[in-house]
Amino acid sequence: MATQILTARKRRVFNAVFKRPQISQPTPVATPATGFTAQGQAFGELPRLSQQARDDSFHELIIPSSPGLFHSVTGDESGHAQHQARWDRSWHTVTYDLALANIPADLDPMENSQITKILNHLTYDPKRFDTAYQQALLDVLDPQIRLPNASHREDVVLWHSGHVQNHFLHQVLPLIARITNIHGAEMYLYRVVRILTAAHEIYLDGLEHASRTDVGPRKKANKHPPRLCRDLHPIISNSLTNKIAIPLRGVLRNMINEVLGLPSKEGWHPQKKDDPSSEAARGELLKLIESLQDVGLSGESLQTILAEVMNDSMTLYVNIGYTGIWSEVSSQLSGHKERPDKRQPSLLPRTAHHSSASRCVRDLCEWIENRYAKLAVQVFSVLTPDTVGINWRLVEKWKEMGIARLANLRISELFDIVHQWPRSSGALEDLKTAITTPQRRLRLTEVFAADLSKRLLHPGTSTLQILQYYISMIASFHALDHSKVLLDRVAHPLQVYLYSREDTVRVIITGLLSDTEDAEGNPIGPGGDKLHELASLLDNNGSRQRSQIDDDLDWRDLDWTPDPVDAGPGYKRSKSADIVGTLIRALGTQEVFIKEFQSILAENLLRADYYFYREVKVLELLKSRYGDAPLQSCEVMIRDMIDSNKVDMIVRAGIEGKEMTAREAEVLLEKVPSNDDTDEVLPIHAKILSRLFWPQLQDESYRIPDDITQLQRRYEVGFEKLKASRKLTWMHALGQATVELDLADRIFTEEVLTWQATVIWEFQSDNAGEVGVQRNVQEIVDQLDMDESLVRSALKFWTTKIVLQEVEKDVYMVLERLNPEQRAWSNAMAAATNGTAPAEEVMEDTASIVTNGITKEKRQLYWQFIQGMLKNNSSQLPLMRIGMTLRMLLPDGFPLSNEELQEFLGTFVAEGALAFAAGKYKLAK
């Protein structure tokens, strides 16, 4: 206490020397020169009421009885003097009492304990406003009536407002400036608002005090605070808005997020109804806004911040709430399925009424209506109390905005949504509800096309993956938009890209021809190395689709809709998704497709004796698309297969000395569908192909074992007896042989390819006693006159079967006896043979041999072309140019991809014929 007095004294001394000019003087500027009261005269008198005052409508409010302070004025001159003196005195009283104390500079607004002290400095001592003050105030406020003769008068309101502004700028503002948001934005805002509120209160308090007494003219006094506010609020908002905008935004965002049930850091539990915590937050928020409004911070900037925060909160809600929620199924979990249908329409904005709302859209609309709009209405009513509620159309607008945000989200997710199809049908429904305008549809296709080229159409993805994606794309876009306009727009780059992949057609056809069920009859799911999806699609709706007629003039079609507005020229309506059809139509021309189909068909037909239902089915599909004529040779190929069974039977019967007619053969075939080789006179069957109709088959020529040659001779004779004008040409490499190996400790039986059989034949021991026959690779090559790569491949095959063993480099030996370890492996292998793995392995082997075989002949040709271009065009060329030129100029096309070409060129580099430097190839000198 003593220190306080000391400080006060010190300050007084200081102030006496350095007068602070900014504190306005509580006494009037003018001092009355005349009219001092005469000796003995009473000091002051009740003013005589003028006529004007009497007519004043407020005359009843004038103090009815003299409180003894006032005495009547005797004359005009003395009245003037007295009035002036009283005015001066009243002025003094009022200004002295209203003068605001300085806030001690040593108080720290960051300390909670000192905040209260600060706030104490910001309140008037209620004892100040005694009756004397009130009288004085009334005098000063209403000098015309009460002191009409005082000539020097000033507007106390004006003075007060100036004083208040001064105080604010020099006392309160520096104080607020010292507040930092070290304890978080909320604390900061809380302190600022508290100080501001206190200051604001004291500013208004001074003059308002008069209104609180029942002595003053209430209405007149009431007029002042708005004027003060008008002067003060701009100052407050100008000086503070920018400073508090950022913390305010943060605090508002937190509160609004809480109120709206938005996810916080702790995770999110979507709640459709308000819970207590959000209610509490709502109260707090409204209080904050109210206090901001009170101190004059509810200007445009607050509204802007509010609008921005609300806007962001909607985006946030959509993004966090609905990202990755694509499935339809989970709607049952959320418990909203049982919502009565009749309520739904009211939740949706009018623009979305026509389509059935998806779950997310419904949820979103509900949220907007129940929580978002509710909060908005409350905030509005605080900010602008005059308006009653808000326009209903605003809510409608908000819902549309929400749906648009949802659409944006879904569009950005669309790539993954398509990938997840059909598990993401819910998301597609959302999109369907949302993409109602051509602009949005355009945006959807643009974004999707960009995603597509970025994420799918690059060398890293296999053609199979692209095709699988394309299939889900066709299906999901069909679900999205039956008109196919969207699909057409996005599919084009995909199709163009697929054209550039050499294996596209092959993958499609293999997919069509693949099995839908594995060996145990379980359906094969998507994935794997073949497009099984296509085969199952073909199974499921191949026939149904053809019966559908895409006719524009179907008058009985009640679901008819006009063409979409953004349909391009040449748009053709089609209702079915028709994935198979779209793929075939879009990818590859008829010739390419048929050629590829033919070669795969040939491969499949030759591979085994089985029923080719699937091949026939695909053939029918292609026929329905391209007509019979182009597919004639495929038809002949299948026919060949059927016929050769018959011919085979007759020929064999003929050799055995029996006569058999074609009719008998057919009957016999139906009875015994599969041939049993074991105890037959002629252990050889032939498939007779009509050479002209089959694609070029890759055959390896080698010397086949004499025993087989003899069998072939006999067969030929029989055949030529049957068909006199025909001649058989054997294709050695393309058959199967059943091999039975009589080894020392086991008998090995397996159906293998003929060239594999031929190689193992070489290991046959000439004399029975010899064990562990050894052959080296070169011997076999010379013996059989067979391609070395083929020999090696066969040796590898037999090694994996544990029949041969590589004892030293290039020397193989028959494993007559197995050690236990090998035996275990052998058993495992035998068990696994039921699966598909070994068969495929062999297929791969053959495939590589075939490509090698092809390139062996063509290698020279390609090399000539490469030499030609390097010699004549440009002495050094990059890989791309070489590939391009080869593809352009080779009449049969160039089968290698750029990567394969690189490998191909690499062999020449290794041979020293080419040199590779700086990304370009050149001929070695």
């Binding site: 030609g868 004549n872 065009n873 002495s875 030129t885 100029l889």
Partner: protein, 184 residues
């Protein structure tokens, strides 16, 4: 009898086609000109590629236009051009092979029958051209022209004179003129 009459009808006036039919046949031929030229050039390319003729080689220009080719001739031994390589350009007219290609030396060459711009004076490329010639034969002719110039109708008079009078200077001139051109 009826059958015979029909047959007669169909075979009447052999060799003279009705006007409409002739037009029908004529039109596609004209339209197919470019196509048949391309086909012919493709065949020639395959032929060149499969038959490896030493000393000559030719290939379509890199832009994929089959009507313009680049060829390379190695100078024959025992001629002033031995161990030199010459590049030529072939421009095929759209009615090739019924008109000769325009052949020019791209590599500067000092030769009695070739002018400074690379134009060549060779009868089979002018009036003696027949459709039986092809790129390979043209190149072979040009290769032999290097060893046996036709000095009776020179485009480069100086070269023709020197060939006959001063072989050493001729060789010097050939070496001076020759520049190995790189790329396009």
């Amino acid at each position: 009898m009826a059958d015979y009459a029909m047959e007669d009808n169909q075979n009447s006036a052999p060799g003279t086609l009705p006007a409409a039919q002739a037009a029908k046949l004529g039109d596609p031929r004209r339209a197919n000109d470019a196509q048949s030229t391309t086909k012919r050039l493709q065949t020639e390319l395959m032929q060149l590629m499969t038959s490896d003729t030493p000393g000559i080689s030719a290939f379509p220009s890199s832009d994929g236009n089959l009507q313009s080719w680049t060829a390379t001739i190695d100078g024959p031994d025992d001629t002033p051009y031995a161990k030199l390589t010459f590049k030529l350009t072939f421009a095929f007219p759209s009615n090739y092979p019924f008109a000769p290609p325009t052949v020019m030396f791209k590599t500067p060459i000092y030769h009695p029958n070739v002018d400074m711009a690379g134009r060549i004076c060779l009868d089979i490329l002018k009036d003696k051209w027949t459709a039986a010639y092809n790129i390979q034969t043209v190149l072979l002719s040009l290769q032999s022209l290097l060893g046996e110039p036709n000095n009776a109708s020179p485009l480069n008079g100086e070269a023709a004179t020197l060939w006959d009078s001063d072989m050493d200077r001729f060789k010097q001139k050939v070496a001076d003129r020759h520049v190995d051109i790189e790329d396009e």
